[in-house]
Amino acid sequence: MSIIDMSKPKSDLPYGTLDLLVLKTLDTMGPLHGYSIARRIEQMSGNLKLSQGSIYPALMRLEQQGWISTKWGVSETNRKVKFYSLTRSGEKQLHIEVANWEQASSLVAKILGAKA
């Protein structure tokens, strides 16, 4: 194994955004396993650089909050995997976060626009 990069895992995403994207993905796509969630986010975000592994801590956080739930299923490779799905409180949280995000981004946009 080559020398491991010791810095934090690479992510171009602002902190906390990943959680929102995961929630949104599950909302749109229904129950998915980890790899599909990672792939979906990658596809949607174009050339955004994301370590696929970084979704697992995010999934764990969301599960601990009770916003997503897990169920064991079988993958395409015939292996036991966790399928994640959005819970009711997760749906509510998604709405709140989306609203927050929109508010924040419109605010930022407004300020940036005013300056320009």
């Binding site: 491991i4 764990m60 599960e63 601990q64």
Partner: protein
């Protein structure tokens, strides 16, 4: 963080293994799926796997984050590190923390307000006060809430038909208000109950109540016969109040308190016999009280005799009196030694941790490569040392719990307020000491380890410790050697001083002499004639006992101190304070004290015959130097004729000069100039009996008691001791520090030796390869040995030099503890250096000799 998440994080603690396994499963599934995708995109299997790994990112970093986020990580870490610490402990030698004796404050409310008042002939000396001084201060002062005069009082009490002498105190009515004490049953003295000599009441100690009266609450209102005088018992003090209160180290604790009432004669007499204690009013400082008393003294100046005009008054905190200077010094010295030993122990542990850290460099490097932060690693190392410290601390406290019961009775002269026990204060002290020590011990290795670059460590790990770590360890060991040298030098100095003290000439022959105190009660011996008649009759009876070769009565025994009186040459008002001792015709022969000139006392020196005195050599020398008297025999000197009633000064003829006897308790002090007077001419109720025997002195006690009871069946024999015991006790407080420091020095040397051993052993292990090469190239065992030893030698030498310099710098501390030994005594220093050098070399030679047995081929192959 939401509550739900917090709960989830806590429960994660207990599902750790399962969560880890699930995460592993997910990662594997993810990578398989990714690989599958990549192959579907046309990549070959190897490339597909690489692509999947690349896209996933650092697996172990992700896991670290996962772990950090998933649970209350610090708890998890703590538990894990604690396990680590425990595991390391099984491999590492343990150390224990020696806990110093903490003095608890006096068991009285607001102890800082309790003071002792003295009259001070010179600024450096203290004297008891006269009755008049006490009464005037009590009447006029603005400073005290309560002010009491204490003086010794003994009484013979019949207990189960046997006369027993109890020690007690004469006090003022508000004595217990000074100490803020309430009796557990009954009452204390009522205001002014001491007026008119009316108060025939007594308060007894809890210990006396339990011991002599079986704790019977019916004691209240009963009459206690003190020397055949009925005293109504009005109260019992709480346990521990004064149970260990001794005016002098050899005294019994006070059993009873009765009221002072002063006769006109006592007020006029002007003897200094009262020990006033007071409770300062709130907010009054020592200095204010002092000014107040000086003002009072100025107002009564016309009542003070001319020769005492220059005296002053002093106010001292009460606890200062309790914790004497010698004890205070001993405690500080012991504490200092404890700290030094503790430092050495710390240094050793630091060294061990450093050595181990070298071995663990690889483990630490791997952990940090896997994303453990620097702080996290440092924390782990600190927790390990805390665990080490905590276990050591627990062992230390357990040891202390055992030792304290063994040790406490061995420490004489402790103030009665010093409760020596493992209380919460000591435990808190021990705990903070453990914490401090652990952090100290762990800090250096932790810093060294966590700042080391992971890559470098991974590369170097196989080669063992770095040169920098080695240097640190050598410096630490050198410091250990230095500290040990300081302690060994101190121990050698103190030991030499003790030997000198033990060889001090007592002036008296102390073997085969048994002594005791007898109090002749006033009721049956109401005047000097009765007393004077008793002594010779009793002595004749005692000398008739087979095996008794001599017997004598005196006012005081050797080494137990004696009163002081002022002596002046007739017609000259120039007084000098001399020791004043009553002795009968047999005292000098019983004590084996030879006459230097003239004669001792005879049966003819009795009440009514001309006043005579015998002086010791020291006083003779003083008279010669001061007054030019070369032959003192026949010379008259003025001394008080002490007896019953008012004392007056008379001219006494010096009839003899006797060899110097050690009058005082402190062997370190010079011989006191002393005048002896015939006890018949200065009769006294409290007397000391000394009996010299042909055989074992203690075996004669029953016969002595029988003889005394034949003369007076109501007399109690108290303080029965051989002169040898009295001599041994005079060394008490002086021998203990020597053994204490000696033991500490031994421990320190041992620890330093361990440290040296560790460093050399480690170096030998690290250099096996080098040694192997050298030996393969033809080096002989001696070459290898000198290579290693020369390296250690510089460490030891550096330590010795620093240690000797430090020991010289510390002479200021040691000087005051030494008797007739220079604080810079060359033999002591030489011994200190030699012992440490020898111990250090032996410690180094053992592992070094192992190096010479290195087999070149195995050594070279092993890496």
């Amino acid at each position: 963080m939401t509550l739900r998440r917090a709960v989830a994080r806590l429960t994660a603690l207990f599902r750790r293994n399962r969560l880890e396994r699930e995460l592993d499963d997910e990662v594997i599934a993810h990578l398989e799926l990714a690989e599958l995708d990549a192959r579907e995109r046309g990549l070959d299997p190897l490339e597909a796997r690489r692509e999947a790994m690349r896209r996933f990112g650092g697996i172990d970093q992700m896991k670290e984050i996962h772990r950090d986020d998933r649970s209350a990580r610090w708890i998890e870490n703590f538990v894990k590190d604690a396990r680590y610490g425990l595991a390391s402990l099984r491999r590492e030698p343990m150390f224990s923390i020696v806990d110093g004796v903490l003095l608890t404050p006096m068991p009285f409310p607001h102890p800082e307000r309790i003071v002792r008042v003295w009259e001070a002939p010179t600024p450096a000396s203290s004297n008891s006060t006269t009755t008049r001084t006490f009464l005037e201060i009590k009447r006029q002062n603005q400073s005290f809430d309560a002010f009491s005069a204490e003086s010794l009082s003994t009484a013979t009490v019949l207990i189960n038909g046997e006369p027993v002498r109890l020690d007690g105190r004469y006090v003022s009515w508000d004595h217990f208000a000074v100490f803020g004490l309430q009796p557990i049953i009954g009452r204390t003295f009522a205001p002014d109950e001491d007026r008119d000599g009316a108060g025939r009441v007594v308060i007894i100690s809890h210990a006396a109540w339990q011991q002599h009266f079986g704790g019977d609450p019916g004691i209240l209102g009963r009459d206690l016969l003190l020397d055949n005088e009925a005293h109504r018992v009005i109260g019992v003090l709480p346990p521990g109040a004064f149970d260990r209160h001794r005016a002098r180290p050899l005294d019994q604790p006070a059993s009873f308190w009765r009221l002072n009432s002063f006769t006109e004669a006592e007020i006029e007499a002007g003897s200094h016999w009262l020990n006033p204690v007071g409770r300062l009013k709130p907010g009054v400082t020592l200095a204010q009280a002092q000014d107040d008393l000086l003002g009072i003294r100025a107002r009564i100046a016309n009542q003070i005799p001319q020769w005492k005009k220059g005296w002053s008054v002093k106010v001292e905190p009460f606890d200062q009196l309790l914790v004497g200077d010698t004890l205070r010094q001993s405690i500080y010295v012991a504490l200092g030694a404890v700290i030094l030993v503790l430092l050495i122990a710390c240094a050793n542990i630091t060294n061990l941790l450093l050595a181990r850290s070298a071995g663990r460099a690889r483990e630490i490097a791997v952990r940090s490569a896997l994303g453990a932060t620097r702080a996290r690693i440092a924390a782990q190392l600190l927790v390990e040392s805390l665990m080490l410290g905590a276990l050591g601390g627990i062992a230390g406290v357990a040891l202390a719990a055992v030792l304290i019961d063994v040790a406490a009775p061995l420490v004489p002269g402790m103030p009665f307020t010093a409760e020596i026990s493992l209380n919460w204060r000591v435990l808190a002290f021990a705990t903070s000491a453990v914490m401090l020590v652990s952090v100290l011990v762990g800090l250096l290795p932790a810093m060294k380890m966590s700042t080391r670059s992971a890559a470098a460590a991974l590369n170097h790990a196989s080669r063992g410790s770095s040169a920098a770590t080695d240097r640190t360890r050598r410096v630490i060991v050198a410091v250990e050697v230095a500290v040990s040298v300081v302690l060994i030098c101190g121990a050698a100095l103190l030991f030499k001083s003790l030997v000198r003290l033990q060889n001090v000439d007592i002036g008296a022959r102390i073997e085969r002499v048994i002594t005791m105190s007898i109090d002749l009660p006033w009721a049956r011996y109401p005047d000097g004639n009765r007393l004077a008649a008793f002594y010779p009759v009793m002595i004749e009876r005692l000398r008739a006992i087979p095996g008794v070769t001599d017997a004598s009565f005196s006012g005081d025994l050797p080494l137990q101190g004696t009163g002081g009186e002022n002596l002046n040459m007739p017609g000259r008002d120039e007084r000098m304070l001399v020791g004043f001792k009553r002795a009968d015709a047999n005292y000098f022969s019983t004590m084996g004290m030879g006459m230097v000139a003239g004669r001792g006392f005879t049966a003819g020196d009795r009440a009514g015959s001309p006043y005579v005195t015998v002086i010791n050599e020291a006083l003779a020398a003083r008279l010669r130097d001061r007054f030019g008297i070369h032959n003192p025999i026949g010379q008259g000197v003025d001394l008080p004729a002490l007896g019953f009633g008012r004392n007056r000064r008379v001219t006494m003829t010096i009839v003899g000069v006797v060899r110097n006897e050690r009058v005082g308790r402190d062997l370190r002090e010079p011989v006191k100039e002393t005048a002896y007077v015939p006890i018949s001419q200065a009769p006294r109720m409290q007397v000391k009996l000394a009996v010299r025997t042909a055989g074992d002195a203690t075996a004669a006690v029953p016969a002595i008691r029988a003889a005394v009871h034949q003369v007076d069946p109501m007399l109690a024999l108290a303080d029965i001791r051989t002169m040898e015991e009295i001599w041994e006790r005079s060394l008490s407080g002086l021998t203990e520090p020597v053994w204490l420091i000696g033991i500490f020095a031994g421990v320190a040397a041992l620890l330093a030796a361990l440290g040296l051993y560790g460093v050399v052993a480690h170096a030998v292990t690290q250099q096996r390869r080098e040694i192997g090469i050298r030996m393969a190239l033809g080096a002989r065992a001696n070459d290898v040995l000198s290579l290693i030893v020369s390296h250690v030698l510089t460490t030891i030498l550096a330590g010795l030099v620093v240690g000797l310099v430090a020991a010289v710098a510390l002479t200021r501390v040691t000087r005051s503890l030494l008797f007739e030994v220079s604080a810079l005594d060359p033999t002591a220093f030489a011994i200190g250096a030699a012992v440490m050098a020898a111990v250090g070399l032996i410690a180094a030679l053992v592992p070094a000799s192992r190096a010479t047995r290195v087999d070149p081929t195995t050594a070279l192959r092993s890496e």
